[in-house]
Amino acid sequence: MNAGATGREVVLRVYRGDANGGEEVAYTVPVETGMVVLDAIHWIQAHRAPDLAVRWNCKAAKCGSCSAEVNGKPALMCKSRLDHFPEGQPITVRPMKTFPIVRDLVTDVKWNYEINKRIAPFQPRANAEWRWQQSDIDRVQEFRKCIECFLCQDVCHVLRSHELKHQFAGPRFLVRIAGLEMHPIDGADRVPFLKDTAGIGLCNITKCCTEVCPEGITITDNAIIPLKERVVDRYYDPVQRVWRAITGAKDGT
């Protein structure tokens, strides 16, 4: 393990605590070449605090488990290189602030799973042909890169600052709905759901979700705004409403 030793040390200020409160505790960690914040947390677990609670799985930015706030910014710990932070300054590591804390760096993210269940599942159109072009799905494949790290949910001010979990599903699920709505042969209609349940109107497209997404999904521009436009088609565009009333046509053509 010492092969990569650099002789340097870094101070990590890790939040320790639970629902009843807590505080940042400083740990001094020897730095190895290429170390990420999650490595440092593991070092602390192995040498200083075996009960330090943290979620992780892949250590390769593929599973979306190790979400936290590093120096105040929502990030994956396994992707946050120590040498990308200013040298000599402590690094703070805190749990996500949008969800209730369980302990230390672990938060209760089950709300997200509750919301997910309410989204109408994939429903192929009747007698659809299972053939489509790559160009039909490039768009949707971007949304399906989501690793459910919930960092976008964490940073979204509607959930984080205004605490509107009872009115807004959050960017992750708008991305998911976009993936379903734009699926070439999905036939379910989630537009009313978007407006009345997922609360897409509460998103004010300020793009923090896009800024933090570790998968680089252009959440706001590619998922949310196109969905907002579909909601406009259905509910707010007077000409289209009249047109549909006259012709009986559906939107989306």
């Binding site: 009115q167 009345d196 196109p226």
Partner: protein, 329 residues
């Protein structure tokens, strides 16, 4: 001994009823699952970087440019057009130029038309982001505490009107056509003006120009103002063609391109708009700046502070009889 099960993720349940008066309801009880973030005051954050810099810069940029635009539109009506020296430069703020007789003198004609570009920008997805962040601090920066707890996003009046953006887009597309005509006009100089504006050139051109001047012909030329107006309209075009609503309307609304009528061309168009759309923020700023700059130049020429340079003339390439030009003017 067994206690009630609590934490399992159970089977899918139907969402509860919609909230009152258009307010959405996810089915979660208000206040449930709350985290530490909602208890943070304005500006509270562990971020150590200069998170305030961008919103402040953005606010400053918007204040300066919008301030200038207001000045130009409302107070500067006297110098919106430059018609001397063979030029016909029209400030983009005043295009299309409509000046009905009933308009009181103290009211700028820009007012009649400005509601469209103004509305277009005010409801633009990018500008919304910019002013929500910089002026409403909603949020001022990511993961930074906010000043107010209350929030209704875009689900209530007046913000509900943001949904009408596409109508402003339609207007903007019409405006674009007019603005391009202005550009053409900005490149067509009238001959007598040439003689008056640049005697040295005239003497160098000799007989030919003199004859042309006498005939009152028009010809292609490039002045500083022509370029400024071209730049302004060019940027406005990129800004308009990169609009999110346009992206939706030209093809984004389709679920399956290859299954739709004319799916191929629609996918192609959508792809092009998508590429432009990726830089929508850049076009938004550049176009705002370019419009102000063009207005500024026209204004300065008109006031006489700046002498508009003639950069090139192409009188051999295009000599237009008055008739065809009168169609344009």
């Amino acid at each position: 001994m067994p206690v009630a099960p609590q934490r399992k993720l159970s089977a899918a349940s139907a969402p509860t009823a919609v909230g009152a008066r258009g307010v959405p309801a996810t089915g979660t009880a208000p206040g449930a699952w709350s985290g530490a973030g909602s208890r943070q005051g304005f500006g509270a954050t562990e971020r150590g970087d200069a998170w305030w810099f961008k919103p402040v810069l953005q606010a400053a940029g918007l204040i300066v440019l919008i301030g200038y635009a207001n000045y130009a539109a409302f107070l500067g009506a006297a110098h919106y057009r430059y018609l001397e020296n063979g030029r016909d430069y029209l400030s983009p703020f005043y295009s299309p130029y409509i000046h009905p007789a009933w308009l009181p003198v103290w009211l700028s004609p820009a007012l009649l038309i400005l509601v469209f570009p103004l509305g277009f920008r005010a409801t633009c997805y990018y500008y919304r982001k910019a002013y929500y962040r910089s002026f409403f601090a909603d949020p001022i920066a990511c993961a930074v505490g906010e000043p107010r707890q209350a929030y209704c996003g875009e689900v209530k009046f007046p913000f509900l009107l943001q949904n009408l953006h596409r109508y402003f887009l339609y207007a903007a597309l019409v405006f674009l056509v007019i603005l391009w005509i202005d550009v053409v006009k900005a490149f067509i100089f009238s001959a007598p003006a040439l003689a008056a504006a640049a005697p040295a050139v005239t003497s160098a051109l000799g007989l030919h120009a003199a004859r042309e001047a006498a005939s009152g012909g028009h010809y292609l030329a490039i002045g500083g103002g022509s370029l400024a107006i071209l730049f302004s309209t060019g940027m406005l075009t990129l800004y308009t063609l990169s609009c999110h609503s346009l992206r939706h309307l030209v093809g984004g609304k389709l679920d399956c391109f290859s299954c739709a009528a004319a799916g191929g061309p629609r996918h192609k168009t959508w792809s092009i708009v998508t590429v432009l759309n990726g830089h929508h923020m850049a076009w938004a700023w550049w176009s705002l700046f370019a419009v102000c700059f063009a207005d500024f130049l026209v204004r300065m020429c008109s006031i006489g502070v700046i002498h508009d340079p003639t950069l090139a003339t192409f009188r051999h390439l295009l000599e237009m009889p008055n008739r065809s030009l009168s169609l344009l003017r």
